[in-house]
């Protein structure tokens, strides 16, 4: 069964802006799916239609076979939503916010309190349960958003740029938590600007441009589309470049080289060549993420 089925989805705002132009998209149950695109590509509009914050102009959307035109209640019941911006009541207590959300999903008060305790412990916010939301740091507010989205135990979690403005440590922690949720069977759909995030976590991705999907594939296949990759090579001592001129290396400083490798060239061959020419290699890493390059080439 598919978790999400979108057919010929169109959204035209009252201003005349065609934000989504006939998008077709399927997300399998249990998938970890990314929607990528520049600002204004239509990612947030698509997500907003899925969760009921924006009315579509035409097309159909099914969530676990529930048509949102006829069975939106059932569809909403199995979706958890983490919006881009903090949208909880800033003067309410942390646990009240989470338990209230459970109540809005029709979960009785006793279960709502139990569930909220469970998710707040999971995201490391239980100690702050009586704090006023406004007093939390940005990272903790982000965790609160995730806890609130999970309190009714959804089968699909939809996240709109969940790690925007989050520090590296917290981002990694959130990645681990999202992976754990996905491993537990929760289908995850996210939008993000961090392509590294997609490479690290997602199995499939769609790249949106001006309201249309320009590429939809597995992240693995998307990576393969890259024809050339630039590697940054750190060496202990710079040596003459004569023996590696065929790679057209660029010297950045006395310890750093940049080399472009085509898809048919092996990194191993380059390293052997470097060692044969007296370079002591201490580090090699890609200059940019593969998806980043693909993303830029498509947009």
């Amino acid at each position: 069964m598919n978790a999400i089925e979108i057919n010929n989805l169109v959204k035209i705002y009252k201003t005349g802006t065609r934000a989504v132009k006939g998008v077709n998209l399927t997300v399998a149950k249990g998938d970890f799916f990314a929607l990528l695109g520049a600002n204004g590509a239509g990612k947030t509009t698509i997500i907003s239609i899925l969760i009921g914050l924006v009315n579509k102009t035409s097309g159909s959307v099914k969530i676990f076979n529930y048509d949102i035109d006829r069975q939106f209640d059932q569809a909403k019941r199995i979706m958890g939503v983490v919006p881009q911006e903090f949208n909880f009541h800033m003067f309410e207590k942390v646990q009240d916010i989470v338990a209230t959300q459970a109540g809005f999903y029709g979960i009785d008060r006793v279960t709502a309190l139990t569930n909220s305790e469970e998710v707040l412990k999971k995201v490391g916010l239980w100690e702050k349960r009586s704090s006023i939301a406004r007093t939390l740091s940005g990272g903790l507010k982000r965790r609160l958003m995730i806890a609130r989205a999970l309190v009714h135990k959804p089968e699909i979690l939809i996240l709109d740029e969940p790690t925007a403005g989050v520090d590296v440590q917290l981002r990694f922690g959130m990645w681990d938590y999202l992976r754990e949720l996905n491993a537990g069977g929760v289908t995850i759909l996210l939008t993000t600007h961090y392509l590294e995030e997609v490479q690290q976590m997602c199995r499939h991705a769609a790249i949106l441009k001006e309201g249309e999907i320009v590429r939809l594939d597995s992240v693995k296949n998307l990576n393969k589309l890259i024809q050339q990759e630039t590697y940054v090579i750190t060496v202990r001592n710079m040596q003459p470049l004569d023996g590696i001129q065929s790679y057209a290396p660029v010297v950045i400083d006395e310890h750093t080289l940049e080399v472009n490798l085509n898809r048919d060239e092996q990194l191993n061959d380059l390293l052997i060549k470097l060692i044969q020419n007296g370079f002591a290699v201490t580090d090699v890493h890609p200059k940019e993420h593969r998806l980043e390059r693909l993303f830029l080439s498509l947009l």
Partner: protein, 255 residues
């Protein structure tokens, strides 16, 4: 238990907690304002005014001032809470959940009525320091206070749905509600006005609310009680339907 009923209870709990959390903004100000009205209009000016329909001016003022507090409280409770939820975007908590439109409307209206009634009771208790108000028909009093609070809660919700900024929240209250309240027969009997102004006054729906409520206290008023009750029921039903339609179509809250 029905999930919509649980969602309704949750919304009411959240709204009641808000009213209590900011009680210095929600419960205290009407007490202070109405006390000043009792002192200035009732004591100082009222002492120069003769009885109306055989009732002292201070006693005559009581139902009007109670109703004035109920109207303001019910209206401002819903408009400020709903617009606040829109402004902070926590209204999305309800929109993404499987809550029916009638649950959202009923939740806000219920808390608007509750705040209106609590404030009304407090103002009535304050009036006991100035006069000895008697209630002839408690049923009529309860019916009018609930229906009036419901009408103004529903009107406040419409204002909250359409408002795009704080100016638009205040505009209706300042330029429409306040004049209607002051011209609604709170401080005078319209029978003391020339016929032309009596007829103009009858176009003001607040006149019927205040007078119907006053009938509950004294057993008489300037207009028909049955017509007043009918008008309130009619307004409640129409405004309820308007709110449901607005929310169903996402007007002012979606897109």
């Amino acid at each position: 238990m029905n999930s919509q009923w649980i969602a309704f209870q949750t919304l009411v709990r959240k709204e009641v907690a808000r009213i209590l959390r900011i009680w210095t903004q929600t419960l205290l100000p009407p007490l202070v304002t109405q006390t000043l009205y009792f002192i200035i209009f009732g004591k100082f000016i009222g002492s120069q005014v003769g009885p109306i329909h055989g009732i002292s001016y201070m006693s005559f003022l009581v139902p009007g001032l109670v109703m004035m507090a109920v109207i303001n409280s019910a209206y401002s409770n819903v408009v400020s809470s709903f617009f606040g939820a829109k402004f902070q975007r926590n209204i999305e908590e309800m929109l993404v959940a499987p809550m029916h439109e009638w649950v959202i409307v009923a939740g806000y209206i219920c808390t608007g009525i509750m705040r209106g009634i609590v404030v009304g009771i407090l103002v009535f208790l304050v009036s006991c320091f100035f006069t000895h108000p008697a209630i002839d028909h408690i049923g009529i009093v309860i019916m009018f206070i609930i229906l009036t609070a419901a009408v103004f809660s529903l009107a406040g919700l419409i204002n909250g749905i359409f408002a795009k900024n704080f100016d638009e929240v205040a505009m209706f209250q300042n330029f429409i509600l306040v004049p209607l309240i002051y011209l609604g027969g709170i401080f005078y009997s319209i029978l003391k006005l020339p016929v032309f102004w009596q007829n103009v006054s009858k176009l003001n729906p607040l006149l019927y609310m205040v007078n119907g409520f006053r009938f509950g206290f004294f057993g008489f008023c300037d207009v028909s009680v049955i017509f007043s009750a009918g008008l309130l029921i009619f307004l409640t039903l129409v405004l309820w339907q308007v709110n449901i339609w607005l929310l169903k179509n996402g007007i002012g809250i979606k897109n």
